[in-house]
């Protein structure tokens, strides 16, 4: 502490050596005056994607958003239809009114569902695009094994993310570099053309199949399946929307038929005889799926759809008792239709034990129609049980893969396109191929 004005008897002898002490911190500091950051627990793109293992890690990171996006796509694509409804159940599931908004189609730019669900899908799918862009830009200037395949795989994956964006939002900025800047929106047709070019170019470099330890990665069949699906909807995607409604774009029926035909004739896929096996926990063995979202019974890697739908007491761990189907949807199915079995309706059993199951209050659990979407009780609503619970699930994580495209859809795409072209008889034959195969 300084003492202003105080007068010391100065002893010069003591001062010289002591002054050297001043140098101590200077020495300490001179070890480095740099303020550069060299993070060690995180990586920057400049020093990654250099070898096969790093490329595989990057690929896994670029595929990973698919898992979370299933939820966004289900909410935006299904909870807005009569297939899925999430009624308010007493204290549960009001959630800011967003489920009601989705069901009633009343969301706006600043309403709960608009701010929450729409944003989540927008940022989520674009996050996948960015993961691919970062890796594609990182791969420029380095040489790794199978580089052409990896690049084609990433372009196809990016196209898949973009396809979902085009489906949900129309024309969105086409970006192939990892630079954040506001860009104008192209038309939906421009985006369609970009995706068509990308997939057409990438498919040639993709393998027709992967060894089983790489099951789930992009294949030529996957690229063709996405193309077939895009061509089938080309009239809408390349059309123009005005106050007067949709002015359809050019139909691409024959292109859809051709793309689907390439998949069917690839020899890689065949129709599953047992329909349920397409959805069970071991469905990676099924010959039918073309492109799936992979799941595993490990923490954070599994499929938890049953948690959203089933009653608290119906399975372990206790689900959330939310998502249901409208009776109108359920009633559309023929009683003999195999697919009708995915619905749980009427008296219920515990899906682990097969024993009859009760509501939390003790009354038998009986699923039925929803009387009032604002005040549903815990047993109202028919439930979807399409993906049978994994017997080896770990908590909420089930290993059922979820098919985005499977062979049956290729037949149906062909059938629909042929029908549009006036060849209904051929279309019926194609549908019957599937019906005959199923048991």
């Amino acid at each position: 502490m300084k003492k202003p004005g105080s007068r010391f008897s100065v002893r010069a002898a003591g001062r010289g050596p002591l002054t050297l002490l001043l140098l101590l911190p200077v020495l300490a500091v001179s070890q480095g005056c740099s303020l550069d950051e060299n993070p060690v627990s995180v990586i920057t793109p400049d020093n990654f994607f250099q070898n096969e293992e790093e490329v595989l890690a990057g690929l896994a990171g670029a595929y990973a958003p698919l898992r979370a996006l299933m939820e966004d796509f289900l909410i935006m694509g299904e909870a807005t239809t009569d297939e899925i409804i999430v009624p308010t159940r007493g204290q549960d599931w009001f959630d800011n009114g967003r489920w009601i908004e989705l069901y009633q189609h009343t969301w706006t730019a600043n309403s709960p569902a608009g701010l929450d669900d729409t944003n989540s899908a927008w940022e989520g799918f674009f996050g996948g695009v960015t993961d691919a862009n970062i890796m594609l830009s990182g791969l420029e200037g380095v040489t790794v094994a199978d580089q052409e395949i990896i690049v084609a795989e990433l372009r196809t994956l990016r196209a898949l993310y973009y396809y979902s964006l085009m489906d949900l939002f129309g024309g969105v900025p086409i970006v192939t570099e990892p630079v954040i800047v506001a860009r104008p929106r192209p038309t939906r047709a421009e985006l369609f053309n970009f995706l068509e070019q990308e997939l057409t170019a990438a498919r040639n470099d993709l393998p027709t199949s992967w060894p089983s330890n790489f099951n789930g990665r992009m294949t030529r069949g996957a690229a063709d399946a996405i193309l077939a699906s895009m061509y089938l909807n080309a009239e809408v995607f390349t059309g123009e929307v005005s106050a007067g409604g949709l002015q359809p774009g050019q139909a691409r029926w024959q292109d859809a038929i051709d793309a689907a035909e390439r998949v069917i004739n690839s020899g890689v896929y065949s129709l599953a005889t047992d329909w349920v096996s397409i959805f069970t926990a071991d469905n990676h063995l099924s010959p039918e799926p073309i492109l799936v979202v992979k799941h595993l019974n490990q923490s954070g890697l599994g499929w938890n759809f049953n948690m959203r739908t089933l009653h608290y007491n119906q399975i372990s761990p206790s689900p959330w008792n939310g998502w249901s189907t409208l009776a109108e949807t359920y009633n559309k199915f023929d009683q003999d239709d195999l697919r009708e079995d995915i619905f749980l309706v009427g008296p219920q059993v515990n899906l682990d034990t097969g024993e009859p199951v009760d509501e939390r209050g003790g009354a038998p659990l009986v699923y039925g129609d929803i009387n009032d979407i604002f005040q549903a009780n815990e047993s109202e609503g028919i439930r979807i049980y399409k993906w049978p619970a994994d017997a080896d699930r770990v908590q909420t994580d089930n290993s059922n893969d979820v098919a985005l495209y499977r062979l049956a859809e290729m037949y149906l795409i062909q059938a629909e396109a042929l029908n549009e072209l006036g060849n209904t008889a051929a279309a019926v034959d194609l549908v019957n191929i599937i019906r005959d195969e199923r048991t």
Binding site: M1, T44, Q91, N96, I134, N213, Q298, Y312
Partner: protein, 947 residues
Amino acid sequence: MTAGETATVDFSLQIQAVVMEDLVATGYGTQERLAITGSVATIDAPEANVGVITNVNQMIDGRVSGVRITQNSGEPGSGQQIRIRGGNSINASSSPLYVIDGIAVSNAQTEADGIGIGGSAGLPRSPLNLLNPSDIETITILKDASATAIYGSRASNGVVLITTKKGAPGDVSMEFNAYVAGGSAANSLDVLNGNEYRQFVQDQVSAGNLDPSRLAGLGTANTDWENEVTRSSLTQNYDLVFSGGIQAARFRASLNYMDQEGILLNNGLQRIQGRLNATFSAFDDILNMDLRLTSSHNENKYVSVQNAGGFEGDLLQNMVVFNPTQPVTVTNPDTGEEEFYELGPGRQSVRNPVAIAEQLQDEASTSRTLASLNIGLNLLPSLTAQLVGGVDRSGSNRRTYLPRESAIGAEWEGRALQQERDRTDITFQGTLNWDQSFGEDHRLDVVGGFETLDSDLRTFSAEARGFATDAFSFSNLSGGNIRPIVESRLEEIRLLSGFGRANYSFKDRYFVTGVYRYDGSSNFGAGNKWSSFPAISASWRISEEGFMADGPFSELRLRGGWGLQGNPAVPPYSSLITLEPGDDYVFGESSITGVNATQNANPDLKWERTEQISAALDFGFMDNRLAFTLEGYVKNTKDLLLEVTVPQPAAVGTRLENIGKVKNTGFEFSFDHVAVDNSSVTWSYGLVFDLNRNEVVDLGIQSFIANGGVSGQGQSGQNAQRILPGHPIGTFWGPEFVGVDEQGRQLFNQYEVQRDADGNEIGRTLIGTTLVPGGDDKTVIGDATPDFGLGLNSRLTWGKLDASFLMVSEVGQDVLNNTALVYSTKSNVLQDKNFLKSALDDPIGIAEPAIFSDLWIEDGSYFRLQNLTVGYSFRFGSNALRAYVAADNLFVITGYSGYDPQVFTGSDTGRNSAGGAGVGLGRSTPGLDYLSYPRARTILFGINFGI
């Protein structure tokens, strides 16, 4: 005290809480109080150390104008939110910089993180618990820009300078302080008791509103769950101090032991702390060395209380909702043993709260050592050099086990975690101080120097699940067959600074101070790491002028200043695009470690800066026995560090940018009056008053930021607040409740909003009511910032008797009673859950969900008797003994219906810190009552004994 004087311990108390001593710590030196041109307040620490005080923040509350302190909760050792002249920042921290004996110390959390159960983990306890309040001599608060400018880059939220006690030359003295305190819950929540609940269910079934199956959920017990989980707590605190020495070598050594129980079951804080201050002088005081060493070890024990409530809830939420007709324990028919009653075997989402408290094990051992060496050299009579080296080292190990036999741990068949947090801050400072008078009238005092700080933070955590037995608890993670999480992390920060300050005075009447600091931080973008922070201020002691000689003023002084400061409080690596492992994917049938981007790059990231203009008037009468200070300020924060939405595509939805502006305008008033001062009686009292107006001026391209998530069942995605340009931080945003329809469904105002071409609202028309309020139906429904705050203190000594009190008050702030929103709902009964009795009086139907609206916004104004102390002193020879009784939180006058109107939630102390303010991207969310740990009312008895 001078050399040779007999050191006697004197417990008679100072007259004023805010001391007017001659020398005041101002950062890198001291200054005479009269020469200070900035806004500086000093607290006499022994006087403010009344009641159960675990850290320095509690000693500031209500004693300095312009400083607002909010205790996070009633948990032992809980942290505080401290705001000096309002909050400047939104995403960056708004906490001040703490400086202990010249070393800036981190206010970031020292404890390893906990885990949340159905919600986010509870807030960390205060990192300042390391310092025993009894070791503090004075606390100096630097409030305005000219006072804080010497700390430049880290000072935009103010600075708290803490000076610890040192030994005095003379005979060795010894001091022993002890107290024991008993605490109990200061308030209770009014839920249905067992009989009322049974009656309600039966009535509702009879009326046909409830399915008869609900009757099966009724038990025969009458359990008051709040009573079962709370207890009378005991706190003990002991200090042993000895000090003394000769002029050339002095010391003060102290040992503290504190054991504080929480008023909820099974948690508390134990602290053992040793401290040594040693001073050595040689060569006729040319060389002066100060060694300071504090080492503290805290044993923290926790109960499951979440920060932000959550879905299934913690101990407190289950305390409210658990069925009051069920017993605490039942006899197991198979084993004949008593066990906790649960709704069923295995995992349950509604859990016995007593079982939560008794079964879950959660504790942390945290050690922190602060060591510094200060070498001073008087090179010339007017020239002094100082070298300071300091190390701040903390380590913490958190251990958590959720047993397989518990209703929560059953989900994982036992879940054990160990988490570690380890940080080291190393500081060097070198300063030169030149202090020279020129003739009688002029004096120049210049200090210049540099400072470096290197900080690193290491975290580690590992988790195991799937235990065959609960016998291992958290002590053998290999006992679990699933080990899903092993994580580690290292973050490094460096700050480099050069600074200078010049004080010039003329005739002890006119004072000018100029400060300049140049700071570099590694946290920012490559071209933006360095910034400069200047300040200038002046004062005029009008009372010294000849024309005032006959005036009534014993002191009349005008002060004013301007300055610019920074906030470096962003996490390291914020400007870089970073790839991290963690987002794995499945190829084939095995998981592949996925690496992808977790953060968007912003190479332009730079310092957030706050410009402050302030003016003050000090005046005193009767030899300053009556002293007043009036102060006003305007603070403009620009280049606001804000987490903003970015155009897609981008790796994540937002990034940190320097966008936006916040403005704080305020007025402060304080006065102290020594009303009586004679040989037998002294009586003084003081008042502090402040008001601050906060306004978010600009948010860049964003029209608002949603904030303050509502917690509880059915509340996903619901926010209670918006940060909106033109409004203060803490503005509540939601629908307006109108009433209910015939079915008891809640109705809200429905609006049609008129917008201009840019989409901005220009008007709204009420068009009816709606069941589901959409975007346009929500509007401003409250403001969580107080209109003004008050502190009132008084001290009286009458012979051997002394008495003091402190009252604090805040007026005009709104609070979201989230507790009432989700628990004052009859529909809880549909899930056999209890609810607050207030729900019986509202018309909302039994099938209605809890919907956030202005119905749940309450006035949070309060007036609290913080402390009341009465003591009596004995003296025998040179020994002194004082015995006293004190009460904390004796009463609160408020209209608020929850536990306590002073609430806080959110994380303000973040991942790492640049040796000062906490760093992180938590957002401050004032005014949300998530049912936090209730506060105690405490009565304590203590003695001070000295020889």
